[in-house]
């Protein structure tokens, strides 16, 4: 008999105080509380983190990979947003 699958949760880990939480993977759990405990057991067995966030995967709204060309292309023709676009005299180029 196939058991019904539990909801999928995405797990984010802060490895050290002051750093961002980073996505590390996902797991199935019954609710947020259980997801946190599972995440601790699965993703921090070697003290990899000081803080965990879990988010129900279905609550994440993501951009579509297939559309990414047109979604991100507004910045393609704006090289002047990068510092190295500007050629300055050598003596002050470390600005």
């Amino acid at each position: 008999m196939a058991t019904q699958e539990l909801d999928l949760y995405e797990v984010f880990l802060r490895s050290r105080r002051g750093l961002d939480h980073k996505h590390v993977g996902s797991l199935h759990a019954e609710d947020h509380e259980q997801a946190l405990e599972y995440a601790r057991d699965v993703y921090t067995r070697r003290s990899e983190g000081v803080s965990i966030w879990v988010v129900r995967s279905s609550d994440i709204c993501a951009s579509q990979e297939d559309d990414s060309d047109s979604f991100f292309d507004p910045s393609d023709d704006k090289p002047y947003r990068h510092a190295m676009y500007y050629e300055l005299p050598k003596a002050v180029d470390n600005m």
Partner: protein, 311 residues
């Protein structure tokens, strides 16, 4: 260990404080004051440059200036989001700005009169802001530190595009060079004032240093800026606005002339050229956007009730 001792232990160990950690009320208040002032500066700072977008001398310059002003708007958002983690709402922040209980950097109360000012503002005003912000990347409050890291990375082009304008003007006709010199003269001293009063006069400095909200003092940061700017002025072939500037071999720094602190406090207290105009413009733009916010709320409510009916 009491919560207070635990807090100080983290500060002294160089650990970051995160939103849900216990923190003294005054630490929270101090951060709200500083981060909101920083965010307001980004937002109000859009005005003097926004004023020149339609008058940029070429399409290239227009694109660059537009991108810079967009960045300031984005940076205001990062900072407002960081300060909101401390339990203050966006509405409260905006209200404090518009009623004058919160301040923003005084520099934006100086008018941008010429195209040369676009050069001087990017080079000197953003340059001074970057010196301050690089230091704040190590501030003790996590969300503020992370916002600073992102902002510094994005802002690196702001100063360079300003300096590039100055290079072009100072290599141009006599009139263009004079325009560059005039902008330098008008923005140099206000840029030095951006670092705030002398450490001995600064109301918040000592405690901010103890809590590592600030990592370097106003005077130390100002010195850094003065030192780095000397060569930049020389390369432009312009005259340095400070006649008392002199290399001090012993200190390994430039000595420089005294800042006009009467002017500084006068502008802070509302008597700069553009104080009223800046806030009036903000209020007007905010009010003109009211119908958009209303429409968004109406749409949200409509979607919610449709969902409830379906369920």
């Amino acid at each position: 260990m009491t919560p207070e001792e635990n807090f100080m232990r983290k500060i002294e160990a160089g650990e970051k404080i995160e939103p849900k950690d216990w923190m003294p009320d005054d630490y929270r208040k101090n951060l709200i004051r500083q981060i909101s002032q920083h965010g307001h500066s980004e937002i109000i700072g859009m005005q003097p440059e926004g004023n020149w977008i339609t008058r940029a001398p070429s399409l290239r310059r227009k694109g660059i200036l537009l991108s810079k002003v967009q960045d300031e708007g984005g940076h205001g958002l990062y900072l407002y989001s960081a300060v909101e983690t401390l339990g203050i709402s966006r509405n409260e922040l905006i209200e404090a700005l518009q009623t004058g209980t919160a301040k923003y950097a005084s520099i934006f109360n100086y008018p941008a009169q010429t195209w040369g000012d676009m050069g001087a503002i990017g080079w000197l005003v953003d340059g001074a802001a970057i010196v301050n912000q690089v230091s704040l990347q190590r501030t003790s409050y996590g969300p503020y530190a992370r916002a600073m890291i992102r902002i510094c990375k994005e802002e690196s082009f702001h100063q360079r595009q300003g300096y590039e304008i100055m290079v072009t003007l100072s290599r141009g006709s006599a009139a263009q060079k004079a325009m560059a010199q005039d902008s330098l003269n008008r923005f140099y001293w206000p840029a030095l004032m951006m670092f705030g009063p002398h450490d001995s006069e600064s109301a918040h400095s000592a405690r901010s240093m103890k809590w590592k909200i600030k990592r370097e003092t106003n005077d130390d940061l100002r010195q850094k800026f003065v030192d780095q700017t000397v060569k930049q002025i020389e390369v432009l072939g312009l005259e340095h606005p400070d006649k008392d500037l002199k290399w001090n071999e012993e200190r390994g720094h430039y000595d420089f002339g005294e800042i006009d602190w009467d002017e500084f406090y006068n502008v802070i207290n509302g008597n700069g050229h553009a104080n009223r105009q800046r806030i009036e413009h903000h209020v007007r733009a905010h009010e003109e956007g009211e119908w958009v916010r209303e429409a968004m709320h109406a749409y949200r409510d409509k979607k919610r009730s449709a969902k409830q009916q379906a369920a």
